[in-house]
């Protein structure tokens, strides 16, 4: 099955035991080969191991520290112990100093501690995920007296998201850009935008260096055509490899996501991305209270803080509920097509099978799940 892997890798004969977990009709491998162990013919011990794998995921195997130093206690329990002891300390401090403070303040402090010392979302069990989103929702309520709705929905099975962009249709209206900013609660001060629309001259082809991605005139401008870029959710994402703390990773449904609370802000992923797909919060992001989108996902549009990375998530809060991303919905020309690559009846599959599609910088071996085509 290893030839199913679409990006270039040297075959050293070492990958024979790897099995691909799911591949779609168009020949794509999900790339998450060792994440779903077969559980049928397992002994009790093996079943236990598989159960741990299922809950913690492939990271247990991938984590170099465990492999190299062979630590008996696994990180999860070590981390829990550490957190527990810190919490006891924090609890003691808060209760002992709490004669004059209200219960809200105490609760805020408690949530603050637990959030500061929680683990990496990628390695959390479903209960822990629920725990952290409950805390985040409660914390928002304590701060603003308003409720938000945050989910921690996991990837659905047999789903691999892909995107296609029709260059002939795009007129450069940028409705996608503003819809994205509103949907994803991006910082209004720095005018952060995940999507860039490049205005190019007819007859010159793709000359990105001569394109204008920051125009303020009436569109479509005479003699120009438009194309959009954003995070391409590569199947072989270089940004994920370089992150020193695994704060960014590829989900089962192909979305490349970030745990904003785990990111240390080194910006190595930003240097590694060939598509300008990542953004950094150089200062504290601000969204006016009445403009906050309150339907949030932990990995998606929840409020960020200063000093962390963020990026397009294909609107994980919408797409995992079966909706289209905000940019697709907002596009007045129908240039944007989104769907499940594993569903043979989806529009995206129709486009891939019937149009002459191409991707940007294919020579880098990143395998974007974002295709361009023309009518």
């Amino acid at each position: 099955m290893s030839d199913n892997k679409k990006w270039f890798s040297l075959d050293l004969g070492l990958n024979n035991k790897k099995e691909s977990s799911g591949s779609c009709g168009c020949g794509k491998s999900e790339g998450s080969c060792n994440s779903s162990p077969k559980e049928e013919e397992l002994s009790a011990d093996e079943f236990y191991e598989a159960a741990i794998n299922a809950s913690i995921g492939e990271e247990r195997h991938r984590d170099g520290f465990e492999q190299v130093f062979d630590v008996k206690m696994d990180r999860r329990s070590a981390f829990k112990k550490l957190t527990a002891s810190l919490l006891i300390g924090a609890g003691a401090v808060t209760t002992s100093c709490s004669v004059t403070t209200g219960s809200d303040t105490k609760e805020k402090a408690q949530i603050g501690w637990e959030e500061q010392f929680k683990g990496n979302y990628k390695l959390m069990t479903d209960e822990e995920k629920q725990g952290t989103i409950n805390r985040l929702m409660r914390s928002y309520e304590l701060r603003t007296d308003k409720k938000i709705n945050m989910t921690a929905e996991n990837a659905a099975e047999d789903v691999l998201f892909g995107y296609a962009f029709n260059i002939s249709k795009c007129q450069g209206y940028m409705n996608c850009v503003s819809a994205c900013v509103e949907e994803n609660n991006q910082d209004r001060n720095s005018e952060m935008q995940y999507i860039r629309i490049h205005e190019m001259k007819d007859g010159e082809g793709f000359k990105f260096d001569k394109a204008d991605d920051n125009y303020y005139h009436e569109v479509p401008a005479e003699g120009h055509f438009y194309m959009g870029t954003q995070c391409f959710h590569c199947d072989n994402p270089p940004c994920v490899e370089v992150c020193p703390v695994q704060a960014t990773w590829k989900e089962e449904d192909g979305l490349v996501v970030i745990d904003y609370d785990w990111c240390v802000g080194c910006r190595y992923c930003m240097a590694a991305c060939p598509y300008d797909g990542r953004r950094f919060n150089w200062s504290k992001p601000e969204v006016p209270e009445n403009e906050v989108n309150k339907n949030q996902h932990y990995l998606g549009n929840r409020m960020r803080k200063k000093g962390v990375m963020e990026k397009c998530t294909f609107c994980v809060q919408r797409t995992r509920k079966g909706k289209n991303p905000a940019c697709v919905e907002a596009c007045p020309t129908g240039a944007r097509i989104f769907g499940n690559l594993l569903d043979p009846n989806s529009t995206i599959r129709w486009v891939l099978e019937n149009k002459k599609v191409f991707r940007l910088k294919e020579d880098l071996g990143t395998e974007p799940k974002f295709w361009y085509f023309m009518d």
């Binding site: 990271e59 991938r62 984590d63 170099g64 520290f65 190299v68 130093f69 630590v71 990180r75 070590a78 981390f79 550490l82 500061q116 990496n120 390695l123 860039r196 490049h198 000359k207 990105f208 260096d209 001569k210 394109a211 991605d213 870029t229 270089p238 490899e241 370089v242 992150c243 020193p244 703390v245 695994q246 704060a247 609370d261 785990w262 990111c263 240390v264 802000g265 080194c266 910006r267 190595y268 930003m270 240097a271 590694a272 991305c273 060939p274 598509y275 300008d276 953004r279 950094f280 919060n281 150089w282 200062s283 504290k284 200063k306 000093g307 962390v308 990375m309 880098l364 071996g365 990143t366």
Partner: protein
Amino acid sequence: MGAFKVFRSLVVDSLDTITKGSKKYHLWMGFLILVMLIGMYCYSIQLEEGLSATGMSDRVSWGLYISNFTFLVGVAAAAVMLVMPTYVLKDIDFKQAVLIGEGLAVAALIMCLAFVVADMGGPSVLWHMIPGIGVFNFPNSMLTWDVIVLNGYLFINISIPFYILFKHYQNKEAKKSVYVPGAIISVFWAVGIHLVTAFLYQGLQARPFWNNALLGPRFLASAFAAGPALIILVLAVIRSFTAFKIEDKTIKKIAMIVTVAAQINLIMLVSELFKEFYAPTHHSESAYYLFFGLHGKNALLPWIWTAIPLNVLATVILTFNKFRNNLKVLYFCCFMLFVAIWIEKGFGLIVPGFIPGPYGKIVEYLPTGVEIGVTIGIWAMGAFIFTILAKTAIGIELGELRYKDKKA
């Protein structure tokens, strides 16, 4: 228990040494503390406002901090150029210089770590990187390799001189069987730290300016020129301000190392320039930006055109024995070389990697006052640490600092 008592006495004695000195010494230390305080104030502004207080942006996301980090890794690695002749090739000349070199490595490494922390968006969650309680993405991320090699090298460079000085402090000979294996490891380790740091950039297919097989070797060559050049300058200062005896022979030997490394560095520069400009491709745009400017954007031109002539001039002068053996000329050349390589391996390497951006966008980078303040503060911290280390080491080596057993 005995060793602990000696250690306590050593700490007390060295505290005594470093707080006493001539007026010039006090002025120097006071100046460094002042600069460090200014740096800390600038850093507090950066913590408060976020990294928007710096000149970095989404388009150029690494700047002065990472440039200095890259350069200083080279300085730290250069200590090996003194360790190898002394401990491995048994060339006695270098013995006095080696303690200074290793002290310099320690100071440079601490500065490296400080620059990395200053560059972080979330210094309060840096524990996420500690293996065991955090998640350490080893071996996938080159940054984790860098964390390992830098801290390992720091450990080696603290422990070897400490062992030697600790023995000398008690009027004992340091055992060769203890420190020579450490010294040999450190030789390989030094090459490792600089190569791994080069791989940090070299491994990014997104940045053609860095994604270049010569980057690692060129890092080594420039480091072995700039590092020993700095050591020569430091030795010259120490020689004129203390009773510590450093022979001309030692300095001339180090000068030989600087010269050869600088020559190799220049050959590699020619090779790089040839590749970028003989048959320029889309990937040569960064080099064009660096050397000639692109579309009227030319912020780096004054820098690189200062660095290249200094580099060439210093290398040519050093090549002639007559000039190199004249200490005044030598010091001047070392200074030129140091400045040239600081520009070239710092600013000239990191910033053009981001320009033009992935889609050809050119946004220039200029550090802000806050950023420069933090940078100078960290350099002052390095100088401060080095002065303390050197003063203690010199005190012990000169026999001024000795353990006095009160019972005896």
